[in-house]
């Protein structure tokens, strides 16, 4: 498996929407390389016949009655928002232009 490098970290940081300085990218790449190296043995442990476990205690078909319960009012839902207008969350431009 390829080691993680600075370009990988820069790409992952873009995907994860975290701005990183050049210094941060250098440091993070070094740290992550060590961590990835220490966990890569995991990929060699289990054979193809071993099923994956996503949930420690399997439950299925968890439903509730189809009735309206307590829900937040618009004012409550917007109470922690940095910006809002007309009962909606307000954000800057969503298209990448001036």
């Amino acid at each position: 498996m390829a080691a993680i490098n600075r370009d990988d970290v820069a790409h992952l940081a873009r995907l994860a929407r975290i701005e990183m300085s050049a210094e941060e990218l250098d440091r993070m790449a070094g740290e992550l390389a060590v961590i990835v190296d220490s966990v890569k043995s995991v990929s060699e442990v289990a054979g193809e016949d071993v099923p994956a476990t996503s949930h420690p205690i399997p439950l299925s078909n968890v439903f509730r009655e189809d009735v309206v319960g307590h829900v937040l009012t618009p004012a409550e839902a917007l109470s922690g928002a940095p910006d809002s207008e007309d009962d909606r969350f307000k954000v800057p431009a969503i298209l990448d232009e001036e």
């Binding site: 961590i35 995991v42 994956a52 996503s54 205690i57």
Partner: protein
């Protein structure tokens, strides 16, 4: 402190003892709550266990309990047995009327418009909430040093870590600032702080306590649980906060109402207790190993049968955990985007688009450890690596569950040290993420398999005089067993020590000089 002071005596009582005194009318809920608020005012400048102190509301709830008791009648009869017993809440759990920060700058000043289910249950039991406790940012860490609001200090030695992520809850209970607290445990965040502060902490069976309103870190591993100074107190608290919750789709319908009775059983005769071969010995501090062996001897003398079990796949648990947990972290923390709650930071220059605002907000709002885990998780989930990393880790999870199943065929309860070492110095492992991760080597398997785990004080390590934790594990849904064995072991150890371990902790006083200089 030389003279007898009723308030200092009150803060040293267990929750069960406080409940009995309240019911008998020997003390009022306001007196009990005020004694703890006074203690917080006196020592928390040094400890930094609390991020927010909820003085007015806590006293109002206490006064309400006193009013109901004074009026008598059915309402007084119906009061919950813990009514008026105060509690601290980890600041990862949302509360109406108090800030919830998760230890992060990105949520500074945010107030939740709803209560977590466990908080609703505390309110229904009329337990005064003293405030919100410090933690590693978004519960990511083993030392509470990753909090954006400064580290919490260990009451046994102010230059040492109180464990993490729930160092605030454990330190608050160890420093007698609260008799009870709530924690959350994803890889050991309740049990490891319990171990290094000489307190009790329990991670219940996954789904035994609702996670609704606990800010999610890794949803398939996270679990809310009790923090206390005695095993019985944790059992009392788990019965308050547990039970099925339709707001959490992973919540179990089992009743979990036999925990207090289990803690009061008083014997372990004929129980098979399994030593996990892979979770002691090499890599564990000598003083930890000594206290562990001493506990085994006591249990054997009490009539338990000690057997050795092997869990060969546990050695892969830490690696698998550091793939599954960050993967879930990268997904769960995507919601902190500067749109719906918390901080919004505008980029310094360039076009003002939502993507750039998100990137600037998350850069400024998250600390290093959170960023590391988000990037690691994004990597483990990315195309080309998913099968090798996340997929393989999920298979290892199956192997760990099989190891537990085989072990529980031979033993009713498993036992190990909770953490490989006692509390280390602040700063010692801060720049070495891998060394920090190793603290959780013995606690992570329980989260991977969803089984319950309890940590209780096992004594002080010979070489440094610091607390050692003993961990008990039981099969899923058998939480009662860890309370039963834990309470017996606790009473045997306290008999040996001549009182609770925390009676040996240094006296904290705002006016006292701190060993090693001023802090």
């Amino acid at each position: 402190m030389s003279s007898f002071e009723p308030s200092t005596e009150l803060i040293r009582l267990s929750a069960a003892a406080l409940a009995a005194k309240l019911k008998a009318g020997e003390v009022s809920a306001v007196e009990v709550t005020q004694a703890h608020l006074d203690r917080i005012a006196s020592v928390d400048g040094e400890i930094n266990a609390f991020l927010h102190v909820n003085t007015n509301e806590a006293l109002a709830v206490a006064a309400e309990v006193d009013g109901i008791r004074a009026a008598g009648g059915a309402a007084a009869e119906e009061l919950h047995q813990l009514a008026g017993v105060p509690i601290a809440v980890k600041d990862l759990i949302v509360t109406i009327g108090q800030p919830t920060t998760a230890g992060s700058k990105i949520l500074e000043g945010w107030r939740s418009p709803y209560d977590a289910t466990v908080v609703r249950k505390l309110r229904a039991a009329k337990m005064p909430i003293l405030g919100k406790t410090n933690l590693d940012e978004f519960a990511m860490g083993s030392s509470t040093e990753h909090s954006a609001y400064g580290p919490t200090r260990n009451p046994w030695d102010l230059e040492r870590i109180p464990g993490g992520s729930g160092g605030g809850s454990a330190a608050a209970v160890a420093a007698f600032e609260a008799p009870l607290a709530l924690g959350t445990d994803t890889g050991g965040s309740i049990r490891q702080p319990g171990a290094v502060t000489g307190t009790v902490g329990v991670k219940p069976t996954y789904g035994a306590v609702s996670r609704y309103g606990a800010i999610a870190m890794a949803s398939s591993l996270d679990q809310i649980g009790p923090v206390s100074r005695t095993v019985l107190d944790s059992a009392l608290l788990q019965e308050v906060i547990g039970g099925h919750d339709p707001y959490d789709s992973t919540s179990l319908t089992d009743p979990f109402d036999n925990l207090v009775a289990a803690a009061r059983t008083g014997n372990v005769e004929g129980m098979r207790i399994g030593i996990i071969k892979e979770l002691h010995g090499e890599g564990y501090q000598a003083g930890v190993e000594n206290r562990f062996n001493e506990s085994l001897e006591l249990l054997k003398e009490a009539g338990a049968e000690i057997v050795e079990v092997s869990c060969p796949n546990f050695k892969y648990a830490l690696g698998a955990y550091y793939l599954i947990m960050p993967s879930e972290v990268s997904s769960n923390l995507a919601k902190f985007d500067g749109v719906r709650y918390g901080m919004r930071v505008l980029p310094k220059d360039g076009p003002l688009t939502i993507e750039r605002v998100m990137a600037a907000t998350r850069a400024a709002g998250f600390g290093d450890e959170v960023k590391r885990r988000i990037i690691l998780g994004t990597y483990a989930l990315s195309a080309g690596y998913y099968d090798a990393y996340y997929g393989s880790a999920q298979k290892v999870r199956t192997l760990i569950q099989r190891d537990f199943a085989a072990a529980f065929a031979q033993a009713d309860v498993l036992i190990s040290p909770t953490a490989p070492t006692t509390a280390f110095k602040l700063g010692e492992k801060l720049n070495d993420p891998l060394a920090m991760y190793l603290n959780d080597v013995a606690t992570i398997p329980a989260n991977m398999a969803g089984v319950p785990g309890l940590s209780l004080p096992g004594g002080l390590a010979d070489e440094d005089g610091l607390p050692v934790g003993i961990q008990l594990l039981a099969p899923a849904r058998e939480d009662a067993r860890v309370y039963r064995v834990g309470a017996v072991l606790e009473s045997l150890l306290e008999e040996k020590w001549g009182g609770p371990l925390l009676a040996q902790a240094p006296v904290l006083d705002s006016n006292s000089t701190v060993a090693g200089g001023s802090l």
